[in-house]
Subunit: 294 residues, 2 copies
């Protein structure tokens, strides 16, 4: 596992100035005046595992290799004992090919599953739910002081969201430090890109917290648990099934985190209340974002 102790800032942060991620489009505002707005790009990326086409994802288009690796990891199609021999990205074809030393049995599994299900959701959920059986997450403590520090820092970090909106963000954190901040038009892509980075860099999950701007749905909770991350935090709200699964696997689940406020619906026993919420300011209006409710 990589040593991250000596690092202070982000290892990967959003680059709102990057070419190809946003576009200026001309339109009109409410007064009829001409206006220009920044809009995020959205493009297809088709992921292959060896010779088999697995999925086409709609993505903003940065970090296609991490997205492919993370997607396959989170679907259970790429395991710890699989040796990745190559990851090739073709910008023109909008294709990523992940190659493994041996053909995996997921090819056969997928063939069988897609015969009865035309869509990802069936395939994906079956595989993902299977992976949860017997899973127990590490009992890492989560400090309240860290949560407030993370939330504050993440909301003030320049991002595609602040530039153009209409995008989700997910941040891999360790203690009070945000390490990798990914954004994508699909919120699951942002998580998959983090999973791909962790897999590529050999980063352990047991002392990490995942912060997301998106809702705490079943799929988001399952992905976090399969990644082995013991805490998931969001500005947004919960679904009941998401909470059920978090309780089943012992994930600390915190939602509606805005300014000093939040709700913890699972894994409360691992929350170390080392900060007084009264000393935390309400959220600055300028940094309020998606999911914010007064």
């Amino acid at each position: 596992m990589a040593r991250l102790d000596d690092l202070k800032g982000f290892l990967i942060a959003p680059d709102p100035e990057a070419a190809g991620l946003t576009r200026r489009l001309a339109g009109t505002d409410q007064t009829g005046a001409a206006t220009q707005v920044s809009v995020v790009e959205e493009r297809p990326l088709t992921i292959f595992l060896n010779s088999r086409e697995i999925v086409t994802a709609m993505t903003i288009g940065d970090y296609p290799k991490y997205l492919a690796l993370g997607f396959l990891r989170n679907q259970g199609m790429l395991n710890d004992d699989d040796e990745v021999t190559g990851v090739e990205y073709d910008d023109d074809l909008e294709v990523v090919v992940v190659r493994t030393a041996r053909e995996t049995d997921h090819e056969e599994k997928l063939k069988k599953k897609t015969r009865t299900s035309g869509c990802a959701v069936g395939t994906v959920f079956g595989d993902m739910m299977e992976g949860l059986e017997g899973l127990e997450l590490p009992q890492t403590q989560v400090r309240l002081s860290d949560l407030y520090a993370l939330s504050n820092q993440i909301n003030r970090t320049p991002s595609l969201y602040l530039e153009a909106g209409a995008i989700h963000g997910t941040v891999l954190c360790e203690g009070a430090r945000p390490l990798v901040y990914m954004e994508d038009v699909g919120r699951h892509n942002a998580v998959d890109k983090i999973a791909g980075w962790m897999f590529s860099e050999g980063i352990g999950a047991e002392n990490k917290t995942l912060y997301t701007t998106g809702r705490l749905t079943s799929e988001m909770v399952i992905k976090t648990a399969l990644m082995g991350i013991p805490a998931l935090v969001s500005r947004s709200g919960f679904t009941a099934w998401g909470v059920d699964i978090a309780r089943q696997v012992g994930l600390t689940l915190i939602g509606r985190l805005r300014g000093r406020r939040f709700v913890c619906l699972s894994g409360e026993e691992r929350l170390l209340r080392d900060a007084d919420p009264e000393t935390v300011g309400e959220e600055d209006a300028r940094h309020r974002r998606k999911g914010a409710r007064p």
Copy 2:
């Protein structure tokens, strides 16, 4: 086409009190005090077309028949000339079966596609993009005064969002009247339920506007266009591809509608500016919701 002229209010509105759509869950707040929050349900629904399993959607669970019909319509698997002979819903099995008089060729098409693609996104997008070729939407005018009236009424309507959060809303509107207000954990499900209702009731699309709380992504724009609705309005922002497609098919596309403000990035020529934005109040903080930015 049904006559709607004599109707004033919603034909279908959210029912935040309905059994089975939300659950009270116990947790703790930032002070460590016990708290109870309302959380939306999320459950699988598997849709069959005749004998073929098509998809498993994660849904809040209301209007399963509309969801099934609308999903199949929006995927191009159920056309105007298909006669639906039955729609059966089994609550225990969480299954809807849609039966048609003749087997459709979509079964064969699906079989072929799923052989090369394990996921909905590939299958779905191919079919949906095909449906756009040569499509031209009706040149219906959109009144600014109607947009402001709709936005104001929809934001004040009791909803699962106001009760529990973490849910998307989509509203089919005619002039200044919101007709059918659907909510779902998946924003595409909310649109599909509206499509299913329109198909079941034989409702025309040419004088309608679709209002959504979600982002104006390619998939949202494609669905609206395939439904034949000439205007799509959202509180949230745009993706570049969504705007490209709207311009291609002549859809009036309005985003970031909050209080008096909005941006129109497509179909400006059909916007009738019959209201002075200066006379419209800023949004009441209590009614601010997802997508809101100061």
